[in-house]
């Protein structure tokens, strides 16, 4: 048992730190603290992706999530200059209890489905057969590209249009002057 734990120590260390950071995201009162903990969570998830033979996705996760989306979050939080939030958490015992029950129900169902979905597949052989670690990472990315641009090319084009729509929408939203409470 001990050798098993030590050789897979990295997973437990990463998993525990992920859960701790995720918990801090939700429970820290100062929003910028939680934003920074969310960045650390994303870096931890990128580390996990790295071990699941998805190195390119780990890189994309760091570039897109940790490097762009979270910068926007931190920038917006700084613009608002939100100090320490005092009543950050919803009050009310009964509603809190109901919420907890619903979350427990959903997660319990999820874990039940996972565990009973047949025996664990164990550690699968890496997705591609070729040589040492660095070339397999490249080979996985090439297969990913092959799949992305042949089988899923329609999704790829639709996402391009989606990004255009979101760009125009964001600019339009930032230009709204009127509104029910607008002080003329």
């Amino acid at each position: 048992m001990s050798t098993f734990i030590i050789s897979n120590l990295w997973f437990y260390v990463l998993a525990l730190s992920l859960i701790f950071f995720a918990f801090k995201v939700v429970t820290s009162a100062n929003p910028i603290h939680s934003a920074l903990h969310l960045v650390l969570t994303m870096m931890g998830v990128a580390g996990l992706f790295f071990h699941l033979n998805a190195q390119f996705i780990a890189g994309v996760q760091v570039i897109v999530y940790a490097g762009a989306v979270m910068v926007l979050f931190v920038m917006v939080l700084m613009l608002f200059d939100l100090k320490h939030e005092f009543n950050a958490f919803a009050k009310g015992l009964v509603s809190g209890f109901l919420k907890l029950m619903s979350v427990a129900l959903v997660v319990g169902y999820l874990v039940g489905v996972f565990l009973e979905s047949g025996e664990s597949k164990g550690v699968k052989a890496s997705l591609t057969t070729s040589g040492d670690q660095t070339s397999t990472q490249l080979q996985v990315t090439r297969d990913l590209a092959q799949l992305l641009y042949t089988k899923y090319v329609l999704v790829f084009e639709v996402l391009g249009v989606l990004l255009l729509v979101v760009a125009i929408g964001a600019v339009a939203i930032s230009r709204i002057q009127g509104g029910t409470h607008a002080k003329h």
Binding site: G59, V62, V74, M75, M78, T134, Q137, L138
Partner: protein, 385 residues
């Protein structure tokens, strides 16, 4: 990191030395900058402290350590102290991923009664299959140090300086990403070592299906991507907040932008971050466009191995590794000198000119560069027979 204690300790030592190389480049570059700017402006620069002012660097180091520990009143202490450390990490990670020379092969030898197997030590901190993606990810984290410093020092002007600096950094990351797409089109790999290997031979490319060879020119990336090189180099200036893109620190009321409240060693760490980014930028330019650690006809791994056949294999690989490393350093220092030279010759941009340049000229041009490269590659490499 290593199968046994010897390999583990050598790799650990190598990682620390490479990071220390980046940290030690700061006093050297500060000295070169002060002497260089003095030379450009026809004055002497520091020459009081020791010969040619060289020990000025030690004086600066001591000064940094003995400065007063100042934390502005009412600031967020945790962010204030976190920002300089976060400023160091992206540059250190990015510099660790770039190969500085060919790996060192060490033969099996016996020491202390045990025979240690043959090793190969990669001449870089960590050997990654997707080096380019890792470096882009690391450099995209640079915006956090600016935002934290600006927010932590509870000074409304440094907050604006931080917002401006991070807005500039992210808007130039777009054209940097696009010009790197152009480089990827030429090399078809994310791995730096393969890129340098492709650049070590004579200039050879497929022209309308049949191969063309120009033997007196090295196969460097600059001949395939001239526009991409210019755009990437300009984007690096903006990434490191160097002149002519250093407006967030230069506005009248912003005084020193996001690091107004920092003094002493914390300020020095911001400098280490900035000069570290400069070092990474020059290392990337040499690896992408100027053949990394190879110099085609004379100093390539193959030619050196033949020349050193008289030594034992371990010594031969050691000598070739370090001589190629010197080649790499010379090229990097050349680009560092250009960074410094530009700082003292060009005036700085106004903020709206700076953002217009980023969004309205460099981004479209790097887009055009990527498209034209792709079309030419499809034209040239598909076989017409």
């Amino acid at each position: 990191m290593g199968s046994d204690i010897f390999e583990f300790s050598i790799n650990g030592l190598k990682i620390i030395i490479i990071f220390m190389m980046m940290v030690q480049i700061v006093p050297l570059l500060v000295w070169v900058e002060r002497r260089g700017s003095a030379y450009i402006q026809n004055r002497f620069g520091p020459n009081r402290v020791g010969p040619l002012g060289l020990t000025q660097l030690l004086a600066d180091a001591v000064k940094f350590l003995t400065k007063e520990e100042f934390v502005p009143q009412g600031s967020y202490k945790f962010f204030f102290y976190l920002a300089p450390v976060v400023a160091l990490i992206p540059a250190a990670l990015a510099f660790g991923a770039i190969p500085l020379s060919i790996p060192i092969q060490v033969e099996a030898f016996t020491m202390m009664g045990r025979n240690w197997g043959p090793y190969t030590f990669p001449f870089q901190s960590f050997e990654l299959g997707l080096g380019v993606v890792f470096v882009l990810g690391a450099s995209s984290l640079a915006a956090y140090a600016l935002l934290l410093a600006g927010y932590g020092s509870n000074n409304k002007y440094s907050l604006f300086g931080a917002l401006r600096a991070s807005a500039q950094t992210i808007s130039y990351e777009l054209s940097m990403g696009l010009s790197i797409v152009g480089v990827l089109l030429v090399y078809n790999t994310f791995n730096f070592t393969e890129m340098v290997a492709q650049q070590s031979g004579p200039l050879a490319f497929k022209f309308l299906g049949n191969d063309l060879l120009i033997s007196w020119l090295p196969n460097w990336g600059i001949f395939y991507q001239p526009l991409g090189a210019i755009l990437l180099f300009a984007a690096f200036f903006a990434e490191t907040n160097r002149l002519p893109f250093d407006l967030p620190e230069a506005e009248g009321e912003l005084v020193a932008g996001y690091h107004t409240e920092y003094g002493g060693f914390k300020m020095n760490m911001f400098y280490i971050g900035e000069y570290g980014h400069m070092l990474v930028a020059s290392a990337l330019m040499t690896t992408f466009f100027f053949g990394g650690y190879t110099l085609y006809p004379w100093l390539t791994p193959e030619s050196l191995n033949q020349a050193l056949s008289s030594f034992s294999p371990t010594q031969a690989s050691l000598i070739t590794a370090f001589s190629l490393h010197l080649v790499f350093l010379v090229k990097v220092l050349f680009f560092l000198w250009i960074f410094i030279h530009v700082r003292w010759t060009l005036p700085r941009f106004r903020y709206d000119q700076l953002m217009d340049l980023g969004w309205k000229t460099m981004l479209p041009w790097s887009l055009v560069n990527a498209i034209v490269t792709a079309v030419i590659i499809v034209l040239m490499r598909s076989h017409w027979s």
